[in-house]
C-alpha cells in the first residue's frame, strides 16, 4: 500500500514537472476593448485582431474583455483610480484622458519600442503625452461633411465650397422640406464637430491658444461661431426638434434620405457605405473655409478612432505587449477593417467613401484633436453642455461661453 502511494506521488510530481514549464511559457495578456467580437462589420477589425494575433503568436493567449461604450471608459477610470485590477492593454482614444492615467503613473512608456513603427503623425501624436508614447492608433478619424449626393444631384445643388454656400444650400433644402443637417445633439457630444470647425474658420487655431491659456474661451472667434450655430438652429437647419434627436436618429435620417448632410467623424464611413444600412449615395467632403475667416480648409479636426495603450501591470510581459501593438499596426490586421481611415501606411481604403475621407485627411496641414479628448476631463462634459445650450433659442451664447471660461480658469488656470 505504501509502495503504491509512493509510486502514485512520483507520477504526479513527474507530470507537474513536465506540464508546468509548458504552461509557464504560455503568456497571457488581458485586453479591454469597446467592441464585441461578434462578426458585426463595425467590430470586424477587433475580432480579426484578437483571433489572428493569437494564431500568429501561439505562445500568447489574449483574454479579450468587451466592455462597450461607455462601459470601457467607466471601468477603466475606476480601476485606474483604484490602481488594481488593471488590464495589460486597453482600448483608448488617447489624448488628455490617457494623459491623466500617464500622469498618475499607471501606463507603460513604449517610446523606445514603438517610436519607429510607421504610422501617421497625427495618430502617433494622439497616443503621445508629454513627449512619451504610450500606445498605437491603427485608425484615425477625421470630422468632415457626409453629403447625400443623390439629394444634391436631384435638386441641382453643388457641394458647398464655403460656409456662406452652406447657408444657401441649407435654405434651399429647407424649402424642399429636407432637413439640411442631421446631428444627434440629444446625446450632447455630436454637436461639437460643427462648432470646432466654425470656431477654427473664424479664428484659426484659436482653440490651441485657449487650451494653452493664451486666449479665453469666450473670445470673439468662439462667440461668433456660437452665434452662427444658434442662428442655424433657429433657421431649422437641424430639424424642428434638434434636442430630441439622438445620434442613432441622426444616422437613420441620413440613411433614409430625410437629412442631406451630417457633420461627424469618418467612423461612419463603414455604415454609410454599407448596402445593408442605407441605399443612399453618400460622399465625404472637407468642411469648407469661410470668406474672410482665418482657418483654411486644410485645418482638420480629428481623433483616434481605435487606439491601444498598455498599463504598468504588463511590465513583466513587455515583449508580448509590444508584439501585440506592432501587429495591431500591421497591414495584415488593418486590412480587416471595412470602413475606418487607417493610419497604417500602405493600407488600401476598404470603400470608396473611406477613400474620400482618406483623401481629405491627406490634405491636412493642421490636425486639431477633438476638443473633448484634448482638454482636462473636468471641463469636457461642461464643454458639451455649453454647446448644447446653443440649441436653445433664448440662450445668451456669450454668457454661456463666459461661464465655461470661468470653469476653465478654475481647472486649467487663468489666461496668461
Amino acid at each position: 500500500m505504501k509502495k503504491r502511494a509512493f509510486i502514485a506521488l512520483m507520477v504526479v510530481i513527474c507530470c507537474l514537472v513536465v506540464v508546468m514549464p509548458l504552461t509557464a511559457q504560455q503568456l497571457k495578456l488581458t485586453v479591454w476593448g469597446r467592441d464585441l467580437t461578434d462578426g458585426e462589420p463595425d467590430h470586424a477589425y477587433v475580432t480579426a485582431l484578437i483571433k489572428d494575433f493569437q494564431a500568429k503568436n501561439p505562445d500568447i493567449t489574449i483574454d479579450y474583455v468587451a466592455l462597450g461604450d461607455p462601459g470601457l471608459a467607466d471601468k477603466t477610470k475606476i480601476t485606474m483610480a483604484a490602481g488594481s485590477g488593471l488590464p495589460d492593454i486597453f482600448q483608448t482614444w488617447g489624448g488628455s484622458t490617457m494623459g491623466g492615467y500617464a500622469d498618475a503613473g499607471r501606463l507603460m512608456d513604449l517610446t523606445a519600442d514603438l517610436g519607429s513603427v510607421p504610422g501617421s503623425a497625427a495618430a502617433r501624436g494622439a497616443m503621445t503625452w508629454k513627449g512619451k508614447l504610450y500606445g498605437v492608433a491603427p485608425f484615425f478619424a477625421i470630422a468632415g461633411v457626409f453629403v447625400n449626393e443623390g439629394i444634391f444631384k436631384a435638386n441641382g445643388l453643388g457641394i458647398p465650397s464655403s460656409v456662406d454656400q452652406f447657408e444657401r444650400v441649407a435654405d434651399m433644402l429647407k424649402a424642399k422640406d429636407i432637413q439640411p443637417f442631421a446631428c444627434g445633439e440629444a446625446d450632447k457630444w455630436p454637436g461639437l464637430a460643427l462648432y470646432m470647425y466654425l470656431t477654427d474658420r473664424f479664428g484659426g487655431d484659436i482653440f490651441s491658444q485657449a487650451a494653452a491659456r493664451k486666449a479665453r474661451f469666450d473670445n470673439d472667434a468662439f462667440v461668433k461661431a456660437a452665434q452662427l450655430y444658434q442662428r442655424w438652429v433657429k433657421k431649422g437647419y437641424f430639424g424642428d426638434k434638434p434636442l430630441g434627436e439622438k445620434y442613432g436618429d441622426a444616422q437613420q435620417l441620413m440613411a433614409t434620405g430625410k437629412a442631406a448632410m451630417h457633420i461627424t467623424g469618418s467612423w461612419m464611413c463603414a455604415q454609410y457605405s454599407s448596402k445593408d444600412f442605407t441605399d443612399q449615395q453618400i460622399g465625404f467632403y472637407a468642411f469648407p473655409a469661410m470668406k474672410g475667416g482665418k482657418g483654411p480648409v486644410t485645418d482638420i479636426m480629428g481623433m483616434t478612432d481605435i487606439g491601444f495603450a498598455a498599463t504598468k501591470v504588463a511590465a513583466s510581459r513587455k515583449d508580448a505587449v509590444v508584439r501585440f501593438m506592432k501587429y495591431a499596426m500591421s497591414g495584415d490586421a488593418a486590412a480587416a477593417e471595412p470602413g475606418r481611415v487607417s493610419s497604417v501606411p500602405g493600407v488600401k481604403a476598404p470603400s470608396a467613401l473611406t477613400t474620400m475621407a482618406s483623401n481629405v485627411f491627406g490634405t491636412a496641414k493642421l490636425v486639431q484633436f477633438w476638443w473633448d479628448q484634448n482638454l482636462p476631463p473636468a471641463v469636457t462634459t461642461p464643454l458639451n453642455d455649453t454647446i448644447q445650450t446653443f440649441f436653445l433659442p433664448d440662450t445668451d451664447v456669450k454668457a454661456s461661453l463666459t461661464k465655461f471660461e470661468n470653469l476653465a480658469t478654475q481647472n486649467m488656470g487663468a489666461v496668461k
Binding site: 467607466d74 477610470k77 475606476i78 485606474m80 483610480a81 490602481g83 491623466g100 492615467y101 500622469d103 498618475a104 499607471r106 440629444a186 446625446d187 450632447k188 424642428d240 426638434k241 434638434p242 434636442l243 430630441g244 434627436e245 439622438k246 436618429d249 437613420q252 435620417l253 482636462p376 476631463p377 473636468a378 471641463v379 469636457t380 462634459t381 461642461p382 453642455d385 448644447q388 445650450t389 440649441f391 436653445l392 461661464k403 478654475q410
Partner: protein
C-alpha cells in the same frame, strides 16, 4: 464569582461575538464609506492618487453652480410630484383592485408589479421608444391620425417637457411596489370593521375615505418617506433617457454626482454631492420619525 454572574457574562460575551460579524460588515461597508465620503468632500482629487485638502471649496463650488442648483430643484420637484401624483395613484389603484375583485383585477396585480421588476435600462428604452420624436410611438401615432399638435411636441428635446416625460415613465415604473404594499395593508383590515362600516352605509369609496385611509396612514407615511429619499437619490431613469438634458432640464443630484466623479474626474465635488444627498435624507428621515412619535401611532 457566582454562577449567575458567570452565566450572564458568558451570555454577554456570546451575544457580542455573534453580533461582531454584522457590526464589522456594517462598519466596513457602510460607516467607513460614509466617513471616507465626508473626508473626500473636503479634498480636491481626480481619483488618481493626487488628493489635496481644499476646505469648503467643493461645497462653495456646488452651491454657486447653476447645474447643482438645478439638480437640487429637480429632486425636490420630483419628490413633490411623487407625493401629489404617485402616492394617491397607488392608493386609488390598490383600493380599486380590492374593491372590484374579479379575474381581471387579479391578473392586473401582476401587471402593475411587472413594471417594478423590469431593469431600469429596459424601462428607459421603452420610454425612449414611446417619446422619441423621430421613431417614437407617440410621434408615429400623431402622424397617422394627423394630430399635428402632438406631432409638434418634442418630449425628449424640449426642456419644459423632458422632465414630465421622464416622470411619466418613472410613475409607471415606481408605482407598482406601493400598490402591492398598500393592498397587503388594506387586506389586513379586520373583516368586522368592514362589515360594521357596510352596515352603517359606508361602502365603496366612502369606506376608503373614512376607514381605510386613516387605518393605513402609517404605511402611507413610510411610502412618502421612501419616495422623498428615492427622489434625492434619483439617477437611473433620467440618465438613461436624457442624460440629464436637454441642458440641465432633467439633471438630478445623482447625475451630477456621477458626472463629477466618473466623467469630470472631480472626486471631491462628487463626494460633496454625496454628502448633501446623505444629509438631506437623514434630516427628512429624522423628521418623519419625530412626526410619527408626536402622532403616537405605531404598528
Amino acid at each position: 464569582m457566582s454562577e449567575i454572574a458567570r452565566t450572564a457574562r458568558g451570555r454577554a460575551v456570546f451575544i457580542s461575538l455573534m453580533l461582531l460579524p454584522a457590526v464589522a460588515a456594517l462598519g466596513v461597508f457602510m460607516y467607513y464609506p460614509i466617513e471616507e465620503t465626508f473626508r473626500l468632500s473636503f479634498m480636491r482629487s481626480s481619483g488618481l492618487g493626487d488628493a489635496a485638502f481644499n476646505g469648503l471649496a467643493n461645497y462653495q463650488f456646488l452651491f454657486g453652480n447653476d447645474e447643482f442648483r438645478a439638480g437640487l430643484a429637480h429632486v425636490f420637484l420630483w419628490a413633490f410630484w411623487s407625493l401629489v401624483i404617485q402616492l394617491p395613484l397607488a392608493f386609488f389603484v390598490s383600493y380599486s383592485l380590492i374593491l372590484y375583485r374579479n379575474r381581471i383585477t387579479k391578473s392586473l396585480r401582476a401587471v402593475y408589479y411587472l413594471a417594478n421588476i423590469l431593469p431600469s435600462t429596459i424601462t428607459a428604452m421603452l420610454g425612449i421608444f414611446v417619446f422619441s420624436n423621430t421613431n417614437g410611438v407617440l410621434a408615429a401615432l400623431a402622424r397617422k391620425i394627423s394630430w399635428t399638435w402632438l406631432a409638434k411636441l418634442d418630449f425628449i428635446g424640449d426642456p419644459t417637457l423632458a422632465f414630465w416625460a421622464v416622470f411619466f415613465v418613472a410613475t409607471w415604473m415606481y408605482t407598482g411596489f406601493p400598490i402591492i404594499y398598500l393592498m397587503a395593508r388594506m387586506e389586513q383590515i379586520p373583516l368586522e370593521i368592514r362589515e360594521a362600516a357596510e352596515l352603517d352605509g359606508a361602502g365603496g369609496w366612502r369606506y376608503a375615505r373614512a376607514i381605510v385611509l386613516p387605518m393605513i396612514s402609517y404605511p402611507l407615511r413610510i411610502l412618502a418617506v421612501l419616495m422623498i429619499v428615492g427622489s434625492l437619490k434619483l439617477f437611473d431613469l433620467p440618465y438613461l433617457m436624457t442624460k440629464g438634458g436637454p441642458g440641465d432640464a432633467t439633471k438630478t443630484l445623482g447625475i451630477i454626482l456621477y458626472n463629477q466623479g466618473f466623467v469630470n474626474w472631480q472626486y471631491g465635488s462628487a463626494a460633496a454631492v454625496g454628502v448633501v444627498i446623505f444629509l438631506l435624507s437623514l434630516v427628512l428621515t429624522i423628521a418623519q420619525f419625530s412626526w410619527q412619535r408626536k402622532g403616537g401611532e405605531a404598528e
